[in-house]
């Protein structure tokens, strides 16, 4: 027993303490969190824009066509672009997107972390957009009609009536998307970013001892995800309190 304990201790010492290897893991964790946070922000911004274009087109095409306004064609054009974006992003693996953005689109950039953040942000934006759109569509059309019938214009109806209700519905799903995003960033190592996964794997490569670093990486991800899940639970309960 004592021998086994000694062995564990030696392993721990080798993988984390010697040559300050824990520091590279800490850097990796920092990068992972940094990429996740900013990718999430980019994702929300793209998501809002795409969802706004798509829902505005779906809801207003009839009245705009009726008024013969030119903005109908402009909106139709942007709607088509959004659809193409969603199809491509959701139809290809995130690693492939990351490689394309890194080696083709930003081939000259030297800031790996920024490029990776950008790639994950663009990827996440597609899913966030569909979450937002789903949330807006989940609101009974009668709510929309009630707002319009009182004299609110389309945007006012959205802001005062629809979005506050939709927001409650999407928040848990949105936070789950960011949990998924956190885990997805583990492929950032493909383009040379030192994220948490790559840092752990690099230690394995040096010490030839797989167990400690990889399990440590897994536990760190698990801890963050559990923390976020717990937060989702609290938020959900808060939101439900108000009604019924």
């Amino acid at each position: 027993m004592a021998e086994w304990f000694e062995q564990i201790k030696a392993e721990f010492d080798l993988n984390f303490i010697q040559a300050d290897r824990w520091k590279s893991m800490l850097t990796g964790l920092e990068n992972t969190l940094l990429i996740t946070l900013f990718a999430a922000i980019i994702g929300i911004i793209i998501g809002i824009i795409v969802a706004a274009v798509r829902t505005t087109y779906d809801n207003n095409s009839e009245s705009m066509k009726y008024n013969g306004s030119i903005s109908y064609y402009i909106l139709k054009f942007f709607n088509a672009i959004c659809k193409i974006y969603l199809t491509i992003i959701r139809g290809t693996p995130v690693v492939v997107q990351l490689l394309i953005i890194y080696f083709i689109i930003f081939a000259t950039s030297t800031n790996d972390i920024m490029v990776a953040t950008f790639a994950f942000g663009i990827n996440s934006g597609a899913y966030v957009a569909e979450i937002f759109r789903g949330g807006i569509m989940s609101i009974d059309v009668g709510q929309f009609e009630a707002g319009r019938a009182m004299g609110f214009n389309y945007i006012q109806t959205m802001i005062y009536v629809i979005i506050p209700q939709a927001f409650k519905n999407v928040l848990p799903t949105l936070l789950n998307e960011f949990i998924a995003l956190l885990k997805e960033t583990s492929v950032a190592g493909y383009v040379g970013v030192l994220d948490l996964t790559r840092a752990g794997n690099a230690i394995r490569g040096v010490t030839f001892s797989a167990f400690m670093p990889l399990i440590a990486v897994a536990l760190i991800y698990l801890a963050i995800v559990m923390l976020l899940t717990w937060l989702v639970g609290i938020v959900e309960r808060r939101l439900r309190k108000n009604e019924r």
Binding site: E62, G68, S69, R148, A149, M150, G151, K168, E243, R244
Partner: protein, 258 residues
């Protein structure tokens, strides 16, 4: 033309293509929800629209404030053609209160907030002013004590009374009712009809789509009978219910309990 006319509907048509599903279309290329409606609604008048389901009564009512866009024809409201392209429809809608079958109260707001949001945002009333008006109206329908409740805490009849008050808070010139009692339990129909009667007695112009023949008889100044997208017959409740002319109306009246 009578200058007492508040809304004038001229040759209103609403056609749309049926869904591309052969099972149902039977070679029909156009559904004629409204097929040439002419109707004048005068100030202070209560017009009750009756007819079998699918006859276009709700489509007509929803066309009056352009929740449905007509295919052709005109709607003149207070002297202005609201069906013209680029008409200021949001402005016109403020003067047309609408009450829905399913109430459509905002579930995330208190009753008071439901009543005050539109006057505050659209009529730029102060919070105090809007709330005073709302409370006065709530008092009148006997629901002042529920001001801080949420819609989910109310019964169907209470919700519909609140929905009526919500429209009244905008001080409309005409009230449109789209089957206001159809989603209610029978014992709650009366309380809603009472509020509507009171409103009619105060001289509010009302257009009511309903299956409540008793209400049509008692409160209606004019009854319009629609079938298959056209107005088949119109007249005083007396004429419509006791002396129907067309077979279509006789048939309809025979089927509903009057």
């Amino acid at each position: 033309m009578n200058d007492n006319v508040l809304i004038s509907v001229k040759d209103l048509k609403k056609h749309y293509k049926p869904r591309k599903n052969k099972k149902y279309t039977d070679g029909v290329t156009k559904i004629r929800a409204l097929d040439g409606i002419n109707l004048d609604i005068h100030k202070g008048e209560v017009v009750v629209v009756i007819g079998p389901s699918g006859s276009g009564k709700s489509t007509l009512l929803r066309s009056l404030n352009l929740l449905e866009y007509p295919t052709s024809g005109q709607i003149i409201f207070e002297g202005l053609d609201i069906t013209a392209p680029h008409a200021k429809i949001n402005k016109h809608r403020r003067k047309m209160g609408m009450v829905f079958q399913h109430f459509n109260l905002f579930p995330n707001m208190t009753i008071l907030k439901n009543l005050t949001i539109a006057p505050m945002k659209l009529l730029k009333k102060s919070k105090k002013e809007a709330e005073e008006k709302a409370m006065a109206l709530l008092e009148r329908v006997g629901l002042a004590d529920r001001a801080q409740a949420y819609p989910s805490q109310l019964s169907g009849g209470q919700k519909q009374r609140i929905a009526i008050v919500r429209s009244l808070c905008m001080e409309p010139d005409v009230m449109l009712f789209d089957e206001p009692t159809s989603a209610l339990d029978p014992e709650m129909v009366g309380e809603v009809l009472d509020v509507m009667k009171e409103l009619a007695n105060e001289g509010m112009t009302m257009v009511v789509v309903t299956h409540e023949m008793g209400f049509a008889k008692e409160v209606g100044d004019r009854v319009v009978f629609m079938a298959d997208g056209v107005i088949v017959e119109e007249g005083t409740p007396q004429e419509i219910f006791t002396n129907p002319q067309s077979d279509r109306l006789k048939d309809f009246l025979a089927k509903v309990i009057v």
